[in-house]
């Protein structure tokens, strides 16, 4: 995705991949344990 749409990496200031964006904001960078990933999504839903 990033190589085909590089402007997305700029928009979300993604310094690494994978970067997960929730509702337009980067919330997880890199691979993390499942519990941390879910926690980030729950917080983003806030």
């Amino acid at each position: 995705m990033v190589n085909l749409f590089p402007y997305l990496a700029v928009r979300y200031q993604a310094a690494d991949v994978p970067t997960t964006v929730a509702n337009g904001r980067a919330v997880v960078v890199g691979s993390v344990p499942e519990e941390d990933y879910v926690e980030a999504i729950v917080r983003a839903a806030g």
Partner: protein, 141 residues
Amino acid sequence: MSQITEQDRARIQRGLRDLGGPVVLRYYTSDVDSWYSRSERALLEEIAGASPHVALEVHADRWDPGREATVGIRRTPALTVAGARDSRVCYYGVPDGYELEVFLRLLHAVAGGPPSLGEASAARLRALARPVHLEVLASPT
């Protein structure tokens, strides 16, 4: 993107052997022919040809904001992946390189395979009060 290798062909065959249900891939791309679009389409045709459960629809049209809003995609090339019901999963770009394995697992998830999330995680996500739009930026290698 390179041409499909024998290794990728074998991965696709192996990866879709026990797909549990129907999957429809809708591929939205530009109407402008290019080496890139031909390569991507060849990969998707290989995937669709590897399982009787996978159907491929190709929509090579001009950008149409009205249609894209209806379909729920934001840019092309894009793939929507639907099982017995719409999964609302969009894949942008080409499921090439290491992404191919991830993509094949996605097809299993959409086809109704066993959930890969733990029960506690699934319960937390089911309890969300508001919708969350998730995008995962990846880079095939």
